[in-house]
Structures are given as structure tokens and as C-alpha cells.
Symmetry: C2
Subunit: 124 residues, 2 copies
């Protein structure tokens, strides 16, 4: 793990919710780093490949990344206002997805689940 890559990891870990590559690049530059945008992309690619960070696409196609507290399979409920994310475990939904797959003759079933809402703070 190079110094640059570690910096990207920390920038991501130190923020809550999803951040885009451009966001993280701006953050790092703002705090004085001379890192290049290309390197931010490479670091995020590596972190994503190794499963250390979660990546998904926003509705407008931008890739956003998130460092989770645990590396085991789980999901999130995300506030659509402040983007705060709570990690949730879901035996129910895991079982449901597996059953759906079996029922329709699909093998190696995986799934993506995202839950959105307005958090207690933001709905006040």
C-alpha cells in the first residue's frame, strides 16, 4: 500500500456516506496534497477490487465509493437529504433473494439492495 493510496483510503474512511472520486480529489488537494486525479481513480479501483470499499452508481452515472465498517456482506439505509448511512444486516432479505433465485432456476444468485429514506434529523 503506497502512501498515496493510503491517503485516499483515509480520506474516504474519514468521511461519512458516499463520496465520488472527484470529491475525494478536491478534499485531498484542499488539505495540501499534490496528488493527481489519476491516482485517486487508481486507488479507488484497487480498494474496490480488494473489497475494502463499496462502489455504486448514482442515477446520473457517477461512481461513488464508501468505506464500510465491516467487510462482510450487508446493506445500508441512506438518508436522501444528508447522505448519512446506517449499516443494516438482513437475514430476511438474504433468504428471500436466495429463494427467489431457486424458485426460478437461477444459480449463483447475488443481489444489490439499497434502502433510502429521510433520517430522523432531516425530517424534523
Amino acid at each position: 500500500m503506497s502512501t498515496r493510496r493510503e491517503a485516499v483510503r483515509q480520506a474516504l474512511t474519514g468521511s461519512s456516506g458516499f463520496r465520488s472520486a472527484q470529491d475525494l480529489y478536491a478534499d485531498l488537494r484542499a488539505e495540501g496534497s499534490k496528488i493527481g486525479l489519476t491516482t485517486v481513480y487508481r486507488a479507488l479501483q484497487a480498494l474496490s477490487d480488494s473489497g475494502e470499499v463499496d462502489v455504486l452508481r448514482t442515477d446520473d452515472g457517477e461512481a461513488v465509493y464508501r468505506a464500510c465498517d465491516t467487510e462482510s456482506h450487508h446493506h445500508h439505509i441512506v438518508c436522501r437529504v444528508c447522505a448519512t448511512a446506517v449499516e443494516i444486516e438482513g437475514p430476511t432479505v438474504e433468504k428471500w433473494a436466495a429463494e427467489m433465485g431457486a424458485q426460478h432456476g437461477f444459480r449463483d444468485v447475488t443481489h444489490t439492495v439499497e434502502v433510502f429514506g429521510t433520517c430522523a434529523n432531516c425530517s424534523r
Copy 2:
């Protein structure tokens, strides 16, 4: 509904699984239509706004569209080889998502769920 827009709708309805705007454009041109790419995008935008088609982003950021048999809320299980999609109803997952939201104090809870697998055909 203009003729062009209707043509896009039919091109989408007539194919199974998710199709990109560029795919549909190529199809329409191949069958002799003089439609422009811009119009395809505009038609898909309109169809998506009206809830007639489903849109999601692939892992590489491309928007893909699908005409569903029903307009009510449902999910899909998609073959990762041939992209065939089966529509599934899930009271279980609907309830689960709502409960998760309530449990953490979130309001107006929505969710996105996609299930992937290898279909019976493709796993032979």
C-alpha cells in the same frame, strides 16, 4: 405520443432484457428508420419519467432501459449471461425494507433491489 417516440417504445418492448439507448438506436437504424440518437434519448427520458420503463445503471455507468409487463412496484432477477429478466413480486422484501426504515427512524422509505444469477438455460 409521436411516431418516433412510439417507435422507440416498440423497439424496447420487442426486446427482452435491458437495452441501452445506443442499442435501440442501432436497432432502429438497422431496420431503416432515419431516427436520430438525440430523439432516442428524449423518448427514453419521457418513457422513464412517465414510469412506463425501468432504468438503471450498469457497473460501467451506462444507462439501460427495460419495458416491464406491469407498472406496479416489483423487482427482477436477471441472468448475468444472457440478460434475460424475470419479474418477481416480493411482499417479503417490501415489508423488510419498511421495517428497517422504521427501526432506524427513517421516513418515506424507498428501495432498489436487483437480483442476479445464471439462468437455467445458461448454466447447462
